[in-house]
Subunit: 111 residues, 2 copies
Amino acid sequence: MARHFWAVEALSALAHDTRLRVFRLLVQAGAEGMTAGAIAAAVDVPASTMSHHIATLERAGLAQSERESRMIHYRADYDGMRRLLSFLIEDCCQQRPEMCADLVSAMACKP
Amino acid sequence: MARHFWAVEALSALAHDTRLRVFRLLVQAGAEGMTAGAIAAAVDVPASTMSHHIATLERAGLAQSERESRMIHYRADYDGMRRLLSFLIEDCCQQRPEMCADLVSAMACKP
DNA sequence: GCAATATTTCCATATTTCTCAAAATATAGG
DNA sequence: CCTATATTTTGAGAAATATGGAAATATTGC
């Protein structure tokens, strides 16, 4: 299992229906994050299954956890995601600016 | 196999060491693209294995093919990649501009 | 210490993906 | 039509990933 690119791990983590959904949820949840239970309930997946998926996101550097009494809060790791996006964009812009052309407009982060 | 997000297919395609390498190669190759054989040779992978990987990229909308006499030229599908990047960025910027903050600089496509 | 709650880890199974040799297809040039 | 080249498809075994129940761990309150 020779993973030359760290990015592969991050891409793999997002390349799953449930996990992509969870990541989107976490992004929306913001700094507060969500408890493991809340996530599992929102996506309707058994706790143990969800635990695996969240762990995968965390290993990939796309989520962070913090225990708060009995619950564990998870939140999106913006830094990790930014790293991944930068990698993809830099890689692609390398010689072909046309690929990133309209991306700026996508970045018009609406309030 | 309920794939709710089309993006999952694109992410899966890139979430593999060999395929990510091939995609990067194709981006660098530009409009000319590369023949299947050249790709397989560059990455040092048997032809049949490579054929599967390239097909995966093509299905995911990240590569395009065009036969040219006996060879088949493959090139990166910039449109597909831009779609994926837009999806990821829009999704993340949604409420958290801090995630996309430094991305603009990554987009300073150097000549 | 015990019961209740929140979550993970263990374990086994099911499914998917990966790999590549061998056979099939496509094209070009005698 | 035959041969050579370029590539894909087929097929089958190996490896990785996904899934979820049951057991284990952690925390709190009584």
